[in-house]
């Protein structure tokens, strides 16, 4: 680190008199080469040096080993002030030449010149001594502050590391629980389908409708459709609402004629069974995504595929996010891409975090229809993927911070607002030798990920199949 100082600086007229009077003797000059030592901590020094050019660095042994920089002297700065004026003639620091230097000096036998300006050298050099003291004090303060900062960083890192370890444990437990729920849900679903197929094929149709399309209409659309059905068929409010929820159109329902009021319960019941299975699958996927994100904090196993189709990994991320994506208009402009060497799991993480962020930024603005545009294209050596949204944008002052861990713009932990998403994105992309950039203004925020096709992770770092975060 460099320290700018005003210390021992010969700016004032007083010092320029001192310099010209005491340090212009051409016989008392030394040229020093880089790496040379001017004095050694604890060694003898009865000289006061003035740096004419070059850079000298003063170091002291730190308690417990190592060294730390005490000062840095450039042109017109004094070195040896303490040993010279304290009259102990013991050097307080080791002074090493950092850049070829030239110094002028006086020694303890130096007679006082022009006594009208002060009866002793000490009196005449008082400003230099005071400034040197001040400099040392500032320096100590700065070192203390740096230490404190380093300590705080360390504590933070340790906290994240232990969080990561805990996360790995929790992730393991949750994965087991989610897996049991997921597998058994599927078993129940398949058995139910088989039973329905044998016993009531017509109901199976409603079950499948719920299972495949789920609750695709908004609550507002359901209410509006219910009113339409209520009027058109003279249904009770309840029956109309139930039928509206299934998403069956008035035309599809027409075949029941005047029995509609009666069949509403049955139609809705089987549709609801299907929709419930779908809800459970979506919830399990969501839980799995959360677990995966948390797990990424600790360690992760990544299998690198030599010929990965990036567009396919985007497709997987979209499946993972099918539930939140229902609320926005999604546009895909996927270009033709060459395969790259990458881990599919990692890329899916990158895309799903970016897309999730885009969708959530849109959720904060209910005034207009949200739109997410995902574009991929390739140029010479790289693959680009951009995720764009028409949300409110990221305020300028937040932009530099968004990749930091624990930083979230989401209100009070909305969804999975640990603020790890972008940190994960950056870490993964960085590991591939790629980069993430962001441009944001209200109504248009674009995150662009650039991944090298060759010479990236796969080739540059060898075929590592496991690494720690």
């Amino acid at each position: 680190m460099t320290v700018s100082t005003t210390t021992s600086d010969a700016k004032s007229p007083d010092l320029s008199w001192l310099i010209s009077t005491y340090f212009s003797d051409p016989l008392r000059r030394i040229r020093l080469r880089k790496g040379e030592r001017l004095m050694v901590q604890g060694g003898y020094n009865d000289r006061l040096y003035l740096v004419l050019k070059g850079v000298l660095v003063g170091c002291v042994r730190a308690p417990g080993g190592g060294q730390y920089e005490l000062f840095r002297a450039t042109r017109n700065k004094f070195v040896g002030v303490y040993s010279f004026f304290s009259r102990t003639f013991v050097s307080s620091a080791t002074v090493i030449v950092e850049r070829d230097a030239e110094v002028a000096y006086i020694d303890q036998h130096q007679p006082v010149k022009d006594p009208s300006r002060g009866s002793s050298l000490f009196e005449q050099f008082m400003p230099v001594v005071v400034m040197d003291l001040k400099y040392r004090q500032q320096r100590e303060l700065q070192i203390a502050r740096e230490k404190e900062r380093a300590l705080r960083r360390l504590i933070h890192t340790e906290r994240l590391a232990s969080l990561g370890q805990m996360a790995a444990g929790i992730a393991h437990e949750l994965n087991n629980a989610v897996a049991v729920l997921e597998r058994n849900t599927e078993w129940l679903r398949e058995n139910l389908i088989r039973a329905l197929r044998e016993q009531s094929p017509e109901q199976l149709e409603y079950f499948r409708l719920g299972l495949e399309k789920g609750r695709w209409q908004s609550t507002r659309e359901v209410r509006q459709q219910a009113e339409v059905l209520e009027r058109a068929y003279g249904l009770s409010t309840e029956a109309a609402h139930k039928l509206a929820e299934t998403g069956l159109s008035a035309e599809q329902l027409a075949r029941y004629g005047k029995h509609l009021q009666v069949v509403a319960d049955v139609v809705h019941y089987y549709w609801q069974l299907g929709a419930t299975f779908r809800d459970m699958a979506v919830a399990a996927q969501h839980a799995a995504h959360v677990v995966k994100s948390v797990k990424y904090l600790a360690t992760q196993e990544t299998a690198i595929e030599p010929d990965l189709d990036v567009n396919k990994s985007i497709g997987e991320a979209l499946i993972l996010l099918s539930s939140p994506l229902r609320k926005v208009d999604l546009k895909l402009n996927l270009g033709e891409l060459p395969p790259i060497a990458a881990s599919k799991g990692e890329l899916v993480q990158v895309w799903s975090n970016l897309i999730r962020n885009a969708v959530e930024s849109l959720a904060t603005d209910s005034t207009k229809r949200g739109e997410v545009v995902i574009t991929s294209w390739a140029t010479d050596e790289v693959v680009h993927v951009s995720v764009q949204d028409n949300g409110p944008g990221i305020p300028k002052h937040m932009l530099p911070k968004i990749f930091q861990p624990n930083y979230t713009t989401k209100e009070k932990g909305l969804e999975f607002g640990l603020g790890l998403g972008l940190t994960i994105v950056e870490r993964i992309v960085h590991n591939y030798g790629g980069r993430v950039s962001v441009q944001s203004r209200p109504g248009r925020t674009v995150f662009t990920v650039t991944l090298p096709i060759r010479g990236g992770y796969g080739e540059a770092k060898g075929a590592l199949h496991r690494r720690s975060a």
């Binding site: 609750r215 609550t219 609801q272 959720a363 009070k412």
Partner: protein, 153 residues
């Protein structure tokens, strides 16, 4: 007998659906209306006000994109709208401050944590609906069978 209205607000459709299922045993006395956001709920509330519906209960999620549940309920309370309507807050994670604010400013009647227990939720809803009936001076005989005989304050 006019059915009581229960307004459920949650940004997750799956949660709304689960709520509706759990409240199915009370379908004979109340109608459930679902909303996906506070903004949508405000539209529905305005419409109910216009029609003079008996809105007995609002079940509201805490954390939603846009306006959160507590703020929505606090605004209703402060504006003196639906004074007899009971309020139940469903929450995934609530801090101490949220809780204090919910009780003091939004006059929440019940606080239920996600994931909830179906029978406890039904019990809470029964008590709240009964309280609403008593407070709003409606003829409560027709509802008696399904509601709780005990009521709050």
């Amino acid at each position: 007998m006019e059915k009581l209205k229960v307004l459920c607000i949650d940004d997750q459709r799956e949660v709304l659906a689960a709520l509706r299922k759990d409240l199915e045993p009370l379908a004979a006395v109340c109608t459930i209306i679902e909303c996906e956001s506070a903004a949508e709920a405000e539209e529905v509330l305005a419409e109910m006000e216009r029609r003079g519906d008996h809105l007995a209960l609002i079940i509201c999620d805490h954390i939603m994109p846009g306006k959160n549940g507590i703020d929505l309920l606090a605004e209703l309370t402060q504006a003196g709208r639906f004074p007899n309507t009971k309020k139940l807050l469903l929450t995934g994670l609530a801090t101490h401050e949220d809780t204090i604010y919910a009780i003091n400013e939004a006059h929440i009647d019940r606080y239920v944590e996600k994931p909830w227990d179906a029978s406890q939720l039904q019990q809470s809803v029964k008590i709240l609906l009964t309280t609403y009936l008593v407070r709003s001076g409606l003829e409560y005989q027709p509802y008696l069978e399904l509601l709780d005989k005990a009521s709050e304050g």
